[in-house]
Symmetry: C2
Subunit: 173 residues, 2 copies
């Protein structure tokens, strides 16, 4: 499917409410259990999404628009949340994510992107040349990827509890 700006907005604006529905007021163990060593809990994932709102998507869009390929993006710190989330409740993190997402979608609107601007090229520090349109498609897929991760981590808490049904539940593997 080809990217449409209206669709990008439609999907991105839903992520805070989807995560609220899945996680807000869920009993603590579901929020902090992960999938094993070096994996993330739902709590960690929300912190990671917050860091993306702060440093990744809109800042990179602006670098592309202002500097094109001449200025590579700042590398994105995938694990910044292990420091930044410290001491915060899940409710606080969900609120922060919702506020930042809302602000960023307003910023996106203000960029008044045209087909020509969407085709503008930037420089990813590892992947090389990318376009603004690819950045926005990645924002969408990244959101959905982490919603998927949240539900997988939740499901795995019942890996042993489902007994023989495990054979039918690919989410548990």
């Amino acid at each position: 499917m080809e990217l449409e700006l209206a669709h990008v907005n439609e999907v991105l604006r839903r992520t805070p409410s989807t995560l609220n529905s899945l996680l807000r007021d869920l009993p603590e163990p579901w929020l902090v259990h992960n999938e094993g060593p070096d994996t993330w809990s739902p709590y960690d994932i929300i912190g990671h999404l917050i860091h993306g709102e702060e440093t990744d998507w809109i800042p990179r869009a602006k670098i592309i628009l202002e500097h094109g390929e001449t200025r590579p993006f700042e590398p994105f710190d995938r694990v910044a949340m292990f420091e930044e989330s410290k001491g915060k409740s899940i409710a606080e993190l969900l609120d922060t994510f919702a506020r930042l997402r809302d602000e960023n979608l307003r910023e996106l609107q203000k960029l008044n992107l045209t087909a020509e601007l969407l085709a503008k090229r930037g420089m990813h520090p590892e992947l090389g040349v990318v376009t603004l349109k690819q950045l926005l498609a990645t924002w969408v897929a990244h959101d959905l990827g982490h919603i998927r991760q949240v539900v997988r981590v939740l499901a795995k808490q019942y890996r042993d509890e489902v007994g023989p049904w495990r054979a039918y539940l690919s989410i548990l593997e």
Copy 2:
């Protein structure tokens, strides 16, 4: 994690609102595209969840409580929705799913399940002996598995649009 009835209820009651957040009023192409031949669209998945509410979880719980291992469950028709959803809008399907889930969680409450009842055994037509507790854990994991499937199908619509970022997005594979 060991199953607790209150947790089962907590997770199951959230699924209708999570699916509403992801899908209600989403532009049509996102609802009907799937992952290729013999795969399901988000529209198909909601129909499948409805069929589960009607014929799988609570009916099977009652068979276990009333008949134990002496009466195997009716086999579950995984693709009944291809007929049953015909002509219905996604909004209609989401409403039906929410209503049935609400009714079924009331039914679950009325069963007044104790640890002893949760340990009761039933007969799965393919898997053999299962317990009521395993059935409830499977209900939870099945929900989460299909939310995961919905977000994966959505993400895959942008598989080509993300360009080189595809290398970082495991949800697209």
